[in-house]
Amino acid sequence: MYTFSNKLKTFSIILMVLGLLGVGYGFMTSHKSLDEVKTMLAEEASEHGGGHADEVTLEVATQDEHTEETTHGEASLSDTEEAHSDDAHAEHVQHQIANRPWSALYVAAFFFMMIALGVLAFYAVQFASQAGWSPVLYRVMEGITAYLLPGALIVLGIAVASHYIGHDNIFVWMNENIVDPDHKDYDKLIHNKSGFLNITGFIIRGLIFIGGWSLYRYFARKFSIAQDNAKDNKNFKKSFRISAAFLVFYIYTESMMSWDWIMSVDPHWFSTLFGWYVFASMIVSGITVIALLAIFLKAKGYLEFVNDSHLHDLAKYMFGFSIFWTYLWFSQFMLIWYANIPEEVTYFVTRIEDYNLPFFGMLIMNFIFPILLLMNSDFKRVPWFIVITGIVLLFGHYIDIFNMIMPATVGDRWFIGIPEIGSILLFAGLFLFIVFTALTKAPLLAKGNPFIKESENFHY
């Protein structure tokens, strides 16, 4: 049995406290008055000469991101309304600054939830395919998936709170004015989508997704523990059956979840392979965390039955799914870039102009780094190689989620500062606390699994 050491417990609590302070600081400093924003903009403009002209062109480029902005962007082109345009621009920037702590919190919450969800899917695949190599890692995976229910509820909670407590700081389509034909912010395109994109539907769908995933996780865990001391394989067979059913449910709900929880931040824009793209990020991060946690527990002497062939297989998955992620990222990018349709291409224009470093930086972290470090077969067995690649991969996929949310909510007002780091620390602390607590609840070897002997003797 694993015991959650006091040192680690204190560490995770410190992370949460520090994170909360950072998040609190982010929210406290995000409310700027219009005059403050104007002074700030004037200072920025004087710093780089004719900077204001740049700002206007940028705004035109990103106008599709924000419906309010569409009118303002056009207005700024007319000379007579220049005074109004300055006001409108300052107001827009004021909103972006207010959106930042919300988005920072949301990105970090989603990132850690996605790790647990990716691991759950990977776990179900192991059962559905009756894998023989992995049963020694089942308890590690079950520990990680314990975070799914709280994590996913937090993500949904933040999204809903951004409407009811905040001022639609993440999802513009939640604003009632946008679907009100008489209001100046009315947006016909979003109105047409409001049959799907409305807050009631959003909450109901979210609860169905979370309910389905958590039900599977609850029963899979129950059968897995019951199998430990069982005389026959009845529990294993049940687990096999629900895993197959879950995978069907998962691939639909994961895709719809990615439209709801991520893609709808840009309500005008859509991509048909978005669900797969998010899935790729999810599964890479999940497998990386399985590998890191297994290496950590093995180093502590808890997983003596995990050998370097198991690590080798996990590293192969990290390598392969990193390439899969890149393939999907590029498939999405190239078609949109080539077709060059204004309403589609605006998505990448903002990212390349305003997010150049994170956008291309994540390609290096998520593709070049793992392909070079993990290509050699021998390196896949060296724990510190896996740890280094894994840490870079996790940061890379955080930035991937960052790039999905931030351009729509804060535009060019982004920075990885106290609100972002605070949110990461908060959810990292919570993740560690819940996962390690779950690990103490059951023996670390699923000894009743019919494939456990094969897994223990697994040798590549």
């Binding site: 590029f330 990018f333 190239m334 870039w337 080539y338 077709a339 060059n340 290509m375 050699n376 077969s377």
Partner: protein, 177 residues
């Protein structure tokens, strides 16, 4: 051509062969070659063969393919005959690069795969119209043949091989490579 004297032992079971290889190696004899009708798992390790370096050559060929594709697309689409495709007339390689990525990928794989196979054939001394080196036709059916060079110790080797369960033993003069 110089000729060498070798002893050839034939086995009819892969498990017996594996045990024999381990025993011959334990007696510190050098095994020149083993002919088998199918790949025997773990045989290379038992024979003490060095790990293959074909993966390294494959990586190098892949890099060559990548470079060739970059150069090729630059020559074709940028310098030699620039075209307006989908409203993207461009005399800049970098601005057109995303369109070339699939070609880079394909040529990398093409070079790595084909040159690796060719390297493998050449390294195994196989080329068109080559006369087969197989000393006994039955090794393509259900027999296994182990070949050990003889340095004046025929009797000792013969006894050892009989002991390991060889069904047939003969000593032949063979052309050296």
């Amino acid at each position: 051509m110089e000729s060498v004297k070798v002893i050839q032992a034939i086995y009819n079971d892969d498990d017996v062969l594996m045990a024999a290889v381990k025993k011959v190696k334990a007696e510190r004899h050098h095994i020149e070659e083993i002919y088998t009708p199918f790949p025997v798992h773990g045989l290379d390790k038992a024979m003490g063969l060095a790990p293959t370096r074909i993966a390294i050559t494959s990586f190098i060929y892949g890099c060559i393919g990548l470079i060739v594709s970059i150069w090729m697309m630059d020559y074709m689409m940028i310098s030699d005959w620039p075209q307006n495709i989908g409203g993207k007339p461009s005399f800049s390689y970098l601005e057109n690069m995303p369109a070339f990525v699939p070609i880079m990928f394909e040529l990398t794989v093409f070079f790595a795969a084909h040159l690796m196979v060719i390297t493998f054939y050449l390294r195994s001394r196989m080329w068109p119209f080559k006369k087969a080196e197989n000393p006994d036709l039955r090794t393509t059916d259900d027999h296994f043949l182990m070949e050990i060079p003889v340095h004046g110790n025929e009797k000792e080797l013969e006894n050892l091989l009989v002991e390991t369960g060889a069904v047939e033993i003969k000593i032949v003069d063979k052309e050296a490579h």
